[in-house]
């Protein structure tokens, strides 16, 4: 339900992105957000209720689940998507600031030259709103920083997932001897193969997004250097 709000915010970013940026945005929404909402959430839906330990000791399942799954994959991916979508908003904010500044200048300028008719002023303001700013100067730096932050967040979250779950494979069986489990008990994870498939899929798409971001950054640097 709330992902449409994020989508509405990010669609505005599309206008001021390079082509690679537009591809990145589509990949983000189709292959990550949609897959997360439509498929992955139902795979992980019963992760705790179907986590079964070979013991009747009350509390043992809770404790073992908590030990092996400190943060669920789904939550990590949600946070990753939120953090990765935020740097492009920096660009939108900068563009909005520039537009406002230019609009002020335009209004001040036309105030001084009184022979500028109302209509041409309106047309100028309209073109100001609809124009596409060239990615140069301070906007270039804002865009480059947003790309760097995107890369950092993607890399950071992938590393966090790898460290927390010791690789991208979901084990079928975990052995747990936390109190109050009476001894070493076998605990069985629900749907391990399906979870492994989705983990590998999401990690692959993350890597593709990182590659797209790096390509976009190199393109921007090359463009600036040739200029």
């Amino acid at each position: 339900m709330s992902w449409p709000i994020l989508y509405a915010q990010l669609v505005g970013v599309n206008r001021h992105s390079t082509s690679l940026g537009k591809v990145w945005l589509s990949v983000l929404f189709i292959f990550r957000v949609m897959v997360l909402v439509v498929a992955a959430e139902s795979v992980w839906g019963d992760e705790q209720s179907d986590f079964t330990c070979n013991t009747l000791q009350p509390g043992c399942e809770n404790v073992c689940y908590d030990q092996f799954f400190p943060v669920s994959h789904i939550r990590l991916w949600c946070l990753q998507l939120l953090f990765v979508s935020t740097p492009p908003l920096l660009v939108t904010m900068y563009v909005a600031y520039r537009n406002q500044r230019d609009r002020k200048r335009l209004l001040e300028g036309s105030g001084r030259s009184s022979f500028l008719s109302n209509k041409s002023q309106e047309e100028d303001l309209d073109t100001l709103k609809r124009r596409r700013l060239p990615i140069a100067g301070a906007l270039w730096w804002t865009y480059a920083f947003s790309l760097l932050f995107r890369l950092l967040f993607e890399g950071g979250f992938m590393y966090a997932l790898y460290v927390v779950y010791d690789g991208f494979h979901m084990p079928r069986l975990v052995q747990c001897d936390q109190w109050p489990c009476p001894n070493l008990v076998d605990c069985f994870v629900s749907r391990p193969t399906e979870k492994t498939i989705f983990t590998v899929f999401m990690t692959t798409i993350s890597s593709i997004c990182m590659v797209l971001n790096m390509a976009e950054l190199s393109y921007l640097v090359a463009k600036a250097v040739t200029r």
């Binding site: 339900m1 709330s2 992902w3 449409p4 709000i5 994020l6 915010q9 959430e41 705790q48 209720s49 000791q57 009350p58 509390g59 399942e61 809770n62 404790v63 689940y65 908590d66 799954f69 400190p70 943060v71 669920s72 789904i74 939550r75 949600c78 946070l79 939120l82 979508s85 935020t86 908003l89 904010m93 600031y97 109050p180």
Partner: protein
Amino acid sequence: MNWASFYAVISGVNRHSTGIGRIWLSVLFIFRILVLVVAAESVWGDEKSGFTCNTQQPGCNSVCYDHFFPISHIRLWALQLILVSTPALLVAMHVAHRRHVDKRIYKLSGRSNPKDLEMIKTQKMKISGALWWTYVISLFFRIGFEVTFMYLFYMIYPGYKMIRLVKCDSYPCPNTVDCFVSRPTEKTVFTVFMLAVSGVCIILNIAEVLFLVGKAYGKHLHTAGESTVGAWIQQKLCS
């Protein structure tokens, strides 16, 4: 919880905020409301069904859960977000009132063509005069609500860590029973995250207050030449 309509109401406020106010609004929506709805609600979703006590005594589970979790984190956060966003509506109401007054003045002075009235609707109000006071008071309310809720959190759940095990001996539990909370680590992670973002929002609000005060003082110095802080405060209180 219909956050979508809430979003529609609050984003209207965006136009009359300062730059810091807009950043605060984005942080609120993306890092608090979105995280709450998309992630945190599923972590706390099974908090009661996953709360297991080491007893078969009927009713003990419910009583112990109720004793240790008088109000769930999720509900506290939802209330906090609603209360913290509401002062912004004060500003929106003030702007609407100002526009209404301007429209009447225009009509009385004879300039009642639709174009002028449209201009009133779309122009951005300057944050000065009574609107400045409304804005600053709304900021103080925001800070007050944030701090109050953080304090409430600390009072109800001492420390921000979610404990794995609670010991309970309320009637009808036969003796002191061990009760286990579901997903304590994940809950601690999200509690710390939401508190950190609350802290960031408080800092943004304080920065906005300082910015507004600084801007108003700077304007006063610019228009009144040499002047003391005392004279500025007096002028602000009497205006």
